[in-house]
C-alpha cells in the first residue's frame, strides 16, 4: 500500500499519466495518431533532444543553466561536417570523437568562465551562445555542408535498424540515458553533483571539490551537445551554419524542466527527463495532425517551461508543508 502510494506520488508517474492522457485525447480525435508509423515519427523526434537533455539535467541539478547548447551543437556539427567534406579519407567513426571532443572543449570553456570568475552561468552562456554561433559562421565561411559530403554510413544510422524498425540513433540515445543514470546515481561524483546543487554552501564543507564538479558538469553538457551535433548530421544529412541547433536550447530546457528537474538544483531523475522528452515529442508529432501550424511550436515550448515552473513550485511548497507537519 505504502509502496503504491509512493509510486503514485512520484513526479515520473505524473508525466507518464500526462503522456497517456495526451495520446488518448489526440487518438480519439484523430485515430491515425496511434499508428506504428506515427509512433516511429515520434521516436525519431526525440534522440537529439534526449541526449542533450541528459547534459542539461546535470547542469540544472548543479544549480546552473546552459543556454549555449544549440550553438555548441551547431559548431561541433559544422567542424565535423567540414572534416567529412575536406578529408573524405578519414573513417566516419572518427567523426564521433571529433564532435564529442569539440563539444567537451566548448563546454569546458563555459565551465571555466563560470568557476574561475564566479559569474552567473546564464550570462556566460548567453555570451557563448552568440560567440559559438558566430564562430560557426566563421569556420564554415557561412557555407552549408551539403548532403553528398555526409558519409552514407552515418546517415544510415538514422534509417537502418537492428530490430523492430527502430533506427540506431534511438538506441544510442537510450544508451546515453542509461549511462547518465548510472553516473548520476551510482558514482561518487554523480552524487556529489546532487549534493552541490542541494546546498552549495554545505558542499565544500563536506569535502566536495566544487570547482572540479562544476567544470565536469559543463564539460559533460558540452560533450553531449557535440554528440547531438554529429547525430544531427546523421538525422538530417546536412549542416547549416544558421539553422543547425538554432533554438535547440529552449526545446531541451522545456523537456528537462517538464521532466521534473528543479531549477533550484539538487532534484532530477533520468527517467523523468526521458519522459519529459517523450512528452515533448508527442506534442510535436500531434501538432500537424491537429491542424496547428508548425509556427506554434515556439509558443508551446515557452508555455511548457512556465507550466513546469509552476508545478515545480507547488511541489516544493507541498514538501515544505509536509516537513512542517512532521516537526509539529
Amino acid at each position: 500500500m505504502n509502496g503504491l502510494r509512493s509510486i503514485l506520488l512520484r513526479r515520473e508517474t505524473g508525466i507518464a499519466v500526462m503522456i497517456v492522457l495526451f495520446t488518448l485525447a489526440v487518438t480519439l480525435y484523430k485515430p491515425q495518431f496511434f499508428t506504428a508509423n506515427n509512433l516511429r515519427v515520434i521516436l525519431l523526434l526525440t534522440p537529439l533532444v534526449m541526449i542533450a537533455a541528459m547534459g542539461q539535467m546535470l547542469v540544472l541539478v548543479a544549480r546552473h543553466v546552459d543556454l549555449s547548447m544549440g550553438s555548441m551543437l551547431g559548431l561541433s556539427a559544422m567542424i565535423t561536417g567540414m572534416m567529412f567534406r575536406d578529408m573524405p579519407e578519414v573513417p566516419w567513426g572518427l567523426g564521433f570523437v571529433v564532435a564529442i571532443g569539440i563539444g567537451a572543449f566548448l563546454g569546458l570553456i563555459n565551465g571555466a568562465l563560470v568557476t574561475l570568475f564566479r559569474l552567473p552561468a546564464i550570462i556566460v552562456t548567453l555570451g557563448t551562445l552568440n560567440l559559438y554561433r558566430g564562430l560557426t559562421f566563421i569556420v564554415s565561411n557561412a557555407r552549408q555542408v551539403d548532403r553528398q559530403f555526409i558519409p552514407s554510413d552515418l546517415k544510415a544510422m538514422s534509417q537502418s535498424s537492428p530490430i523492430f524498425g527502430i533506427p540506431w540513433i534511438i538506441f544510442m540515445a537510450f544508451a546515453v540515458a542509461l549511462l547518465t543514470y548510472w553516473f548520476a546515481t551510482h558514482t561518487r561524483v554523480g552524487r556529489q553533483i546532487f549534493a552541490l546543487g542541494s546546498n552549495p554552501v554545505a558542499a565544500p564543507l563536506r569535502g566536495i571539490k566544487v570547482t572540479l564538479v562544476t567544470l565536469l558538469v559543463f564539460t559533460i553538457a558540452g560533450a553531449l551537445s557535440g554528440l547531438a551535433g554529429i547525430m544531427y548530421a546523421s538525422r538530417w544529412g546536412f549542416v547549416n551554419p544558421s539553422n543547425t541547433g538554432f533554438g535547440f536550447e529552449f526545446q531541451v530546457i522545456a523537456a528537462v524542466v517538464i521532466g521534473g528537474v528543479s531549477i533550484n538544483g539538487g532534484v532530477g531523475s533520468v527517467l523523468g527527463v526521458m519522459l519529459g522528452v517523450l512528452l515533448m515529442g508527442c506534442v510535436a508529432a500531434a501538432l500537424p495532425l491537429l491542424g496547428i501550424p508548425g509556427t506554434a511550436q515556439g509558443a508551446i515550448y515557452g508555455a511548457v517551461i512556465l507550466i513546469a515552473l509552476l508545478i515545480d513550485r507547488s511541489v516544493r511548497q507541498q514538501g515544505i508543508a509536509s516537513l512542517k507537519r512532521v516537526r509539529a
Binding site: 543553466v65 543556454l67 568562465l113 570568475f117 564566479r118 559569474l119 552567473p120 546564464i122 550570462i123 556566460v124 548567453l126 555570451g127 557563448t128 551562445l129 552568440n130 560567440l131 559559438y132 554561433r133 558566430g134 564562430l135 560557426t136 559562421f137 566563421i138 557561412a142 551554419p241 529552449f250 530546457i253 522545456a254 524542466v257 531549477i263 533550484n264 501550424p293 509556427t295 506554434a296 511550436q297 515556439g298 509558443a299 508551446i300 515550448y301 515557452g302 508555455a303 517551461i305 512556465l306 515552473l309 509552476l310 513550485r313
Partner: protein, 333 residues
C-alpha cells in the same frame, strides 16, 4: 598579546583610513572605463574610415540600435534591483506584431497602438506575477516568457511580414533639432531615468533592494511594489521600442529584434552595471550604448561579416562582466 595588538591596530587603521582622493574615486568607476573605451573606439574607427568624423553618420547608425538602447536603460534599473529580464526583445516582437496585425485588420491606429502598448504592459505583468507573487527566479522565468512571447508572435504573424501604413514608416528619418527622433527619445529617456535613479527616493530604494532585499524590506521599503513598477515599465518601454522598430523597418515579422536580449544585457554590463544587483548607473548604460554603436558601425565599415560581429559581441559581454566584477571587487575592500 601581540595577536590582539595587531587586530586593534588593524581596526584602528581601518577606521582612520583617509578618504580616497577624488581622482581615485572617479578613475575606478566602471563608467570611466566605458568612456575611455568609447574615446578609443572613436579614434580607432576614424582611422578605419573618414566617415566616422561625420556626426550625422554616427547618428544615423545609432538609430539602428536605438530601440535596444532605450530598453537597456530600463533593464539597467531592473538589474540594479537584483532581477533580470531576458524577454524584452521577444516582447518587442509580439507587441509590434499585435499592433501591425490589428491595424492591418482595420482597427483605427490609436486603438492599434493602445493594443500594442497594452500587450507590452500585460507581458511585463506576467513576468512580474511569476517573479514577485510566485517567487520564481527571474532568469528562468524570463527564458520561458522569451520563448513564449516570440512563439506567440510567430503564431500571429506566421512566416509572412505585415506591412504598416505608409505614413507610419520612417521615425528614424524625422529630425528634431537635427537629431533623429529615436536618438532624441533615447536621450530624453536617459535623462529622466537617470534623474529618477539617482535623485529620487524611489531610485535610491532600487539600489537598496538590489544590495540586500531582506534588509531593505526590514527598513520598510516596499520591494514588491517597486519591482512590479520596474517590470511593468520595461514591458511598456519594450512595446514602444517594438513599434519604433516597426516604423523604422516599414513592416513587421515575428523575428523582429531577434537576439536583442544579448545587445541589451551587453549595454548594461558594458556600462558597469553589477550583474548581482545594487550597483550601476544610467550614465554607464548611456555611454555603453554609444560605445556599442561605434564598435558595430566600425566593424561594418571594416567590412566584417555579421557573424564575426556576433562573435565579437559575445566576447565583449563576457569581458565586460569580468572587468566590472573585478573593478567592484577591488573597490569593495
Amino acid at each position: 598579546m601581540s595577536a590582539t595588538d595587531t587586530t586593534t591596530t588593524a581596526e584602528v587603521g581601518r577606521e582612520a583610513a583617509p578618504p580616497r582622493p577624488l581622482w581615485h574615486v572617479i578613475l575606478v568607476r566602471p563608467e570611466t572605463m566605458t568612456l575611455v573605451l568609447l574615446v578609443l573606439g572613436v579614434i580607432v574607427a576614424s582611422q578605419l574610415s573618414p566617415y566616422f568624423l561625420d556626426v550625422s553618420y554616427i547618428l544615423r547608425s545609432f538609430t539602428l540600435s536605438a530601440e535596444f538602447a532605450i530598453v537597456a536603460l530600463v533593464l539597467t534599473m531592473v538589474i540594479i534591483a537584483g532581477e533580470i529580464d531576458l524577454s524584452p526583445a521577444a516582447n518587442m516582437a509580439l507587441s509590434a506584431c499585435l499592433f501591425a496585425w490589428a491595424q492591418a485588420s482595420g482597427v483605427p491606429i490609436p486603438i492599434a497602438v493602445a493594443i500594442g502598448l497594452g500587450a507590452g504592459l500585460l507581458m511585463g505583468a506576467l513576468n512580474a506575477f511569476m517573479v514577485i507573487a510566485l517567487q520564481l527566479p527571474s532568469i528562468i522565468v524570463t527564458i520561458g516568457t522569451l520563448t513564449l512571447y516570440r512563439g506567440l508572435a510567430q503564431v500571429i504573424a506566421g512566416d509572412k511580414s505585415i506591412r504598416v501604413p505608409e505614413w507610419f514608416i520612417g521615425i528614424d528619418r524625422v529630425l528634431v533639432f537635427g537629431l533623429p527622433v529615436p536618438v532624441v527619445i533615447f536621450i530624453v529617456t536617459a535623462i529622466v531615468l537617470g534623474f529618477v535613479l539617482a535623485g529620487t527616493i524611489f531610485g535610491r530604494q532600487i539600489y537598496q533592494i538590489g544590495t540586500n532585499e531582506i534588509a531593505a524590506r526590514h527598513a520598510g521599503i516596499r520591494s514588491r511594489q517597486i519591482k512590479l513598477v520596474l517590470f511593468l515599465l520595461i514591458g511598456a518601454v519594450a512595446a514602444t521600442a517594438g513599434m519604433m522598430t516597426a516604423s523604422r523597418l516599414g513592416s513587421v515579422r515575428y523575428d523582429l529584434g531577434l537576439g536583442g536580449e544579448l545587445q541589451m544585457v551587453l549595454m548594461a554590463m558594458l556600462g558597469g552595471t553589477y550583474i548581482f544587483g545594487g550597483r550601476g548607473t544610467i550614465l554607464g548604460t548611456f555611454l555603453a550604448a554609444w560605445l556599442l554603436v561605434v564598435v558595430s558601425t566600425g566593424m561594418t565599415v571594416a567590412n566584417l561579416l555579421p557573424a564575426i560581429q556576433l562573435t565579437v559581441l559575445g566576447v565583449l559581454l563576457i569581458v565586460a562582466i569580468i572587468a566590472t566584477n573585478f573593478i567592484y571587487s577591488r573597490t569593495q575592500r
